[in-house]
């Protein structure tokens, strides 16, 4: 299997091994699916959504988790870090120019000295 093998200098990696791995996974999935129950029918009570016993809302908007709520815990835990980071992106052009000038100055001090 020379084709698809990449030597990184420390080891190697083959893409077709992964492809075969995924193909194997797909086969297993198909096998599991084929062992499913035969009396399943679409359009009956069997494919109704179970919403904790409550009536299911008509519009999907009420069901979905909005994107701004994703990773809520993550952002909450890092909120101090995030506050600093977001406050740097002020949206004011003068601040961006100032950061540019600071960067030039810092890099020139590093390289010139």
């Amino acid at each position: 299997m020379v084709l698809g093998t990449v030597y990184t200098g420390f080891g190697f990696w083959n893409v077709y091994a992964w492809v075969m791995f995924f193909a194997l996974g797909a086969l297993i999935v198909l096998f599991l699916r084929s062992t499913g129950r035969g009396d399943y029918e679409k359009g009956t009570y069997q494919d109704e959504v179970f919403y904790g016993g409550n009536p299911v809302p008509q519009d999907g908007e009420d069901l979905a988790v909005p994107a701004s709520s994703s990773y809520w815990g993550f952002t909450k835990a890092l909120s101090r870090f995030y506050d600093v980071l977001v406050s740097i992106h002020t949206g004011i052009l003068s601040d961006y120019m100032g950061i540019l000038v600071v960067t030039v100055a810092v890099i020139s001090i590093l390289i010139l000295l």
Binding site: G91, I92, S94
Partner: protein
């Protein structure tokens, strides 16, 4: 020191321009400050090519001359001037549209995109 006055002018223009870009709040003044930096850059290129006592590098009816100033920086400056003109025109256009949309020229209030 007195011989270096053109160089000092370059530095002074650059300082004025950069100060304007950093600390002025009116966006038209910022555009003007960018133009001033442009002028300082152009002057810098011209100053690089000067030879003491040189004449302009054109032979038509040149008369007596000993040496000519370096022509390449002049050509570069011509190019840089036109480029500066193009960017200035575009900046002013954008400022017109910003004024239409935001109703202000204060750079601290034009900050809808942040975070």
């Amino acid at each position: 020191m007195i011989n270096n006055i053109p160089m000092l002018t370059v530095g002074a223009l650059f300082v004025i321009g950069l100060y304007g870009v950093l600390f002025k709040r009116n966006i038209i003044k910022i555009a003007i400050a960018v133009s001033i930096i442009e002028s300082s850059t152009n002057l810098f290129l011209i100053v690089l090519g000067y030879r003491t006592g040189g004449s302009i590098p054109v032979y038509t009816l040149a008369g007596e001359f000993k040496k000519m100033v370096l022509p390449t920086p002049q050509a570069l400056t011509l190019t840089a001037i036109v480029i500066g003109l193009a960017t200035t025109a575009l900046l002013l256009t954008l400022i017109m549209l910003l004024y239409k949309h935001y109703g202000t020229l204060d750079v601290h209030e034009i900050r809808r995109l942040r975070g």
